[in-house]
Symmetry: C2
């Protein structure tokens, strides 16, 4: 068997892996659906013991678990699988911070199909097939599936916007699942929350509010944030994950309306994925711009400087930014002068 | 603005990124289609200069390039993008090793849709909607789009299977694009290649053979490898990327047929993605099992021990394995005793 050294060249593996990375999204979703992480946490750590628990084949479970091990979501020692710290905390159904339901939203066929033609998104500067139609059912699904992802940032943000025990009237703009407002109410027993969103989405916020025990301390304003009357006299206006759907000018218009609803000295609290000025760090903030390119006509991931400028143009004072780490979002606060 | 530390918890970013990783596949495909790598290599390194060259919007190009920078396929310094070593070598159209066409196959809607329901794949132990129908057009597309990916391993493998100048009759089983046989012919001017594959796929192999200048030194056997008469008297039988489509027993049957076509002392040359015994390293070999779970009823990524056992059960002598690095495949050689 004659042998000669091959030519020096470049390993195409990384490009190959990236071009097939839809397999990762769907494999992780499949593992959540099969409760593989839950079974492993409960002590079934080999393909042959996991398989009957999820009505899977041993081969299928082995291929799936090996694949997730290569990607670092599982460990494998002598044929025995274990959980990485994040999958143990977030994907085991018996963990209090289980958030497996987010897979339903992230890998929803409607979401996946938005990236069918990224060249067209780039040519267009945004999505044509977008998700901002009034009462679009995708927002009900978002509110239901994604809520677990926002418990953490909401619980941290809540500590910044009111002092526990001080009465506060709080507007939760485009409240969605309602978690940002709910956590303010949980943190501060003297807070009253007004959830605003489309009617069908508000049902989810109200269910969550009732479930989390803030009954009697919330109201609702159904309709589009751009059209409804917010009322006045708010101490705080929460804007959680809303500005990224729109262009700069639209956001200034909305923020002026929000400012008019706030008391003098009232606080606007913007929760966003905020990339650094370089727009390529930190990863979660930077990658979020692609999510907006694919799903909104003119949304973006805004830098702190851009959000600060929006707030100033709407008449607010200087803003300050707080990381909500370990959640991957930021809270930007500005006062109504 | 009252401030308190948030609860200690786990960053969900990695799970979040994995569940949206279809965006990476499609963004990389979009960038190849827009020739972003080619434009950057040619000196257009900012969003505003790249945009007109690909009829894109500046915003769309910026979001795409930032996204690819976070994933390491581009660099960004003071707003100016550059290419990573692999994208420079493999995704710039003016590079001799350009392989952008592989994106068409990897992100083909038919391929992506195979991973729609990974839980079902795991339950089934393989695909139901598979790609092995006779003359399936997917293999013509595969042969056309994927050829650039196999030039490197084929050129390295060729140096192991014959000595330049020694006459050799070489059977290329399920030849596809034909590159493995073609590179043997390029390495050894005294080699004659017989390409076997379905008739529609053979057209691609013949086109490539003519294009690469081995006219007059090849023949064809159209039809399924399991059904056709290979003939006899071969010095070498190439089995490039074929065994992974089938189960162990089917492969032993095929290898017996291949052995019957070889001279005594003739060489079987199996080219495969070969994971280590742990099945979770190296990444390219290990991840390949998921590709087979999604696209074949009972295929797999086989370890060297498994391939060696298949070859022995088919009557071959002890086999030896050669890495085709930097390509991410292995060559397994065994003699007909």
């Amino acid at each position: 068997m004659p042998s000669r050294p091959g030519p020096v060249s470049i390993n195409p593996g990384r490009i190959h892996q990236a071009l097939t990375s839809y397999q990762l999204a769907m494999a992780l979703k499949g593992a959540i659906e099969l409760e593989v992480f839950t079974h492993i946490a409960a002590g079934a750590t080999t393909a042959d013991t996991i398989a009957p628990l999820c009505h899977g084949t041993e081969k299928g479970v082995r291929v799936l678990c090996d694949y997730l091990t290569v990607h670092g979501f599982l460990t494998k020692v002598k044929g025995s699988y274990g959980l990485a710290p994040d999958t143990a905390a977030l994907l085991d159904k018996n963990s209090p911070s289980y958030m497996g339901s987010v897979a339903e939203f992230f890998t929803h066929p409607a979401m996946v199909s938005k990236y069918r033609d990224v060249a067209a998104l780039v040519r267009n500067g945004g999505a044509t097939d977008h998700t901002l139609a009034p009462n679009d059912n995708v927002w009900v699904e978002f509110a239901r599936y994604m809520a677990p992802m926002f418990a953490l940032p909401a619980s941290i943000a809540a500590t910044y916007v009111t002092r526990s025990g001080e009465p506060a009237k709080v507007l939760d703009v485009a409240a969605g699942h309602g978690l940002f407002g709910i956590h303010v109410a949980l943190h501060n027993p003297a807070a009253e929350i007004i959830f605003q969103d489309w009617e069908n989405v508000l049902q989810v916020a109200c269910e969550n509010a009732a479930k989390m025990g803030i009954t009697g301390r919330f109201g609702t304003i159904p309709g589009s944030a751009f059209d409804v009357d917010f009322g006045t006299g708010y101490d705080v206006a929460l804007l959680p994950n809303f500005l990224h759907h729109f262009d700069f000018t639209t956001n200034v218009t909305l923020l002026k309306k929000v400012r008019a609803a706030l008391k003098h000295g009232g606080l606007a609290a913007v929760i966003e994925f905020v990339p650094n000025e370089d727009r390529v760090s930190p990863p979660d903030g930077a990658l979020f711009a692609m999510r907006m390119l694919g799903t909104t006509p003119s949304g973006d991931a805004y830098t702190f400087a851009e959000i600060d400028r929006m707030l100033r143009e709407a008449g607010f004072g200087a803003s300050e930014s707080h990381s909500l780490a370990p959640a991957h979002q930021h809270l930007v606060l500005a006062r109504n002068r």
